[in-house]
């Protein structure tokens, strides 16, 4: 009983973190048609930035804010200084983001070393919640809560604001969006910073669950790619649902059939690509 209940909650927590990671990835791909392979590295940078902020004496909440903002700045610089020069060159952008993610992981190795660095769960969330005879790890619930709140804020941003409408217009038809006066350059930077901010936030918030370690970047990047393919590009709801589906498949897959974890993970993706190339909810073909 305890096994199922804990794994279910773990699945939700992983799903929430995957949403923080993948929503930005999907947003950037939808608007700029760039598969941003630095996204895993941005998540990892978020985790390490939180480590440093906490060593400097901040609590996890403030450390997460600092991490998210610093990673947003890094994202903005990547977009302005590198991707901007490669606009229209999809292959160049993929290679550049891949190269940058290698640089980022080496940078982390030099600065934070090769050992796994645990991140403390805030004291107030360390005691498990007891409810109807069941025991829940409190921090997992907090992570799910954060993901749901971020999801709602993103939804309102996209559906209820002029900025959101401008982003959706750009996803529909970038050339026409520019012809109605939408500044592509400012929009790209904004969206890239937002995506990086969410990834950095995910890395920091996920810290007590994953810790910070070399290789966190590629672990997360492959999960983000699976989520985005499953959920479909250009659909926030699709990304949200797919994040939790993958959260469940991965958590239970590794717990029940550890040898087949990758088969279980990649199989749904292959099936989706074969039978529904736009993803479960998306409108743009990957």
């Amino acid at each position: 009983m305890q096994f199922w209940q804990i794994q279910t909650l773990n699945s939700f927590a992983l799903g929430g973190l995957l949403f923080l990671l993948s929503s930005g990835f999907a947003l950037i791909f939808g608007l700029m048609r760039i598969a941003n392979l630095t996204h895993g590295a941005l998540f990892m940078l978020g985790a390490y930035a939180a480590v440093s902020a906490m060593r400097a004496g901040f609590g996890l909440a403030l450390a997460a804010v600092i991490a998210a903002l610093s990673v947003a700045v890094v994202g903005g610089l990547i977009e302005r200084l590198v991707l901007r020069r490669l606009s229209g060159n999809a292959q160049g952008q993929v290679l550049a983001t891949l190269g940058l993610s290698f640089i980022a992981s080496d940078f982390c190795l030099i600065v934070w070393g090769g050992d796994t660095i645990p991140i403390q769960t805030p004291a107030m969330f360390q005691a498990p919640l007891r409810f109807m005879g069941l025991i829940f790890p409190t921090y997992r619930l907090v992570v799910v809560g954060i993901a749901v709140v971020v999801g709602m804020v993103l939804y309102l941003l996209m559906e209820r604001t002029r900025l959101g409408a401008m982003i959706r217009a750009g996803v529909d038809d970038m050339q026409m969006a520019r012809a109605v006066g939408i500044r592509a350059s400012a929009l790209f930077t904004t969206v890239f910073c937002l995506g990086a901010l969410l990834a950095g936030l995910g890395g920091a918030v996920g810290g007590p669950i994953f810790s910070a370690y070399p290789g966190l970047d590629s672990d997360m990047l492959s999960l983000a790619l699976i989520v985005v393919i499953l959920g479909g590009i250009g659909s926030l709801v699709g990304t949200f649902v797919a994040s939790f589906i993958i959260g469940f498949i991965y958590t239970f897959g590794t717990a029940l059939l550890p040898d087949l974890a990758y088969v279980i993970l990649f199989l749904p993706m292959v099936i989706v690509i074969a039978f529904r190339p736009t993803g479960l909810f998306g409108t743009i073909r990957t």
């Binding site: 409408a165 217009a169 038809d173 520019r178 006066g181 939408i182």
Partner: protein, 239 residues
């Protein structure tokens, strides 16, 4: 020529798609408050000319000026902000936005006065008001065309480019769109209208330019064309 304040002046504009040379030195002049009909057969280069003005295609040679200001090297969003707005061929409304959002993203107020607003656009096309919360992708072809025109007007343009607004529409809707263009023109807007519908274009036009294989084949007043139909039909053939 530096002091030329015509609404829009193109001087020997050359444009390419990759290696294929499509515009071979197009020159034309749109005077303020007038409507210029840009005519020509399929593939003559009308859309290419429009795309060059809007900055969606970079002219390789020649100059494009709006009220004396060179637009040549500006990115499309800055040409739009300078006051050139486009009703593109095929409408290209944003399907995942509502009607109202399509108008909102294009909204721009101008220091020199902003005659157009949501209210004015909805007054021009009451059907858009009825459907303002509806997804634009679910509109009929005629409604999408009205939205494309409304979206361009929301930018309070100084020069309006319309590329085949009657294409693929039922006759009744064509008449409605024609009336709207007439009303817009009465506001004193300077307009380039590309049309395959010869009659619609001639009813509205002050000036006529015909292009053929990327070159200007005829340029004159609409009155002259109306008086002597042969003049243009010999260049157009198809009508």
């Amino acid at each position: 020529m530096a002091t030329d304040t015509s609404a829009l002046v193109l001087e020997s504009v050359h444009a390419y798609y990759g290696h294929s040379h499509v515009l071979h030195g197009v020159s034309l002049r749109l005077d303020e408050g007038r409507l210029l009909a840009l005519l020509g057969r399929n593939g003559a280069g009308k859309t290419t000319t429009i795309m060059c003005i809007a900055g969606l295609l970079q002219a390789r040679e020649g100059s494009i000026r709006m009220f004396g200001r060179a637009l040549g090297r500006l990115a499309p969003e800055f040409i739009a902000r300078a006051g050139v707005r486009l009703v593109p061929q095929g409408r290209r409304i944003f399907p995942s936005l509502t009607v109202q959002e399509n108008l909102a993203v294009a909204e721009q107020k101008r220091a020199g006065g902003s005659p157009w607003s949501f209210a004015r656009v909805y007054e021009l096309f009451p059907r858009l008001r009825e459907r303002h919360r509806q997804g634009a992708g679910s509109l009929s072809g005629g409604e999408q065309q009205m939205l494309a025109i409304g979206r361009a007007l929301m930018g309070n343009p100084k020069v309006l480019l319309m590329d085949e607004p009657s294409e693929g529409l039922a006759p009744l809707i064509v008449a409605e769109v024609g009336r709207a263009i007439e009303q817009i023109k009465r506001e004193g807007l300077s307009i380039i209208l590309v049309e395959q519908n010869f009659k619609l274009a001639l009813d509205l036009a002050d000036d006529v330019v015909v292009i053929n294989t990327g070159q200007v084949a005829f340029s004159g007043s609409a009155d002259a064309v109306r008086a002597e139909n042969e003049l243009v039909t010999q260049h157009l053939g198809v009508f």
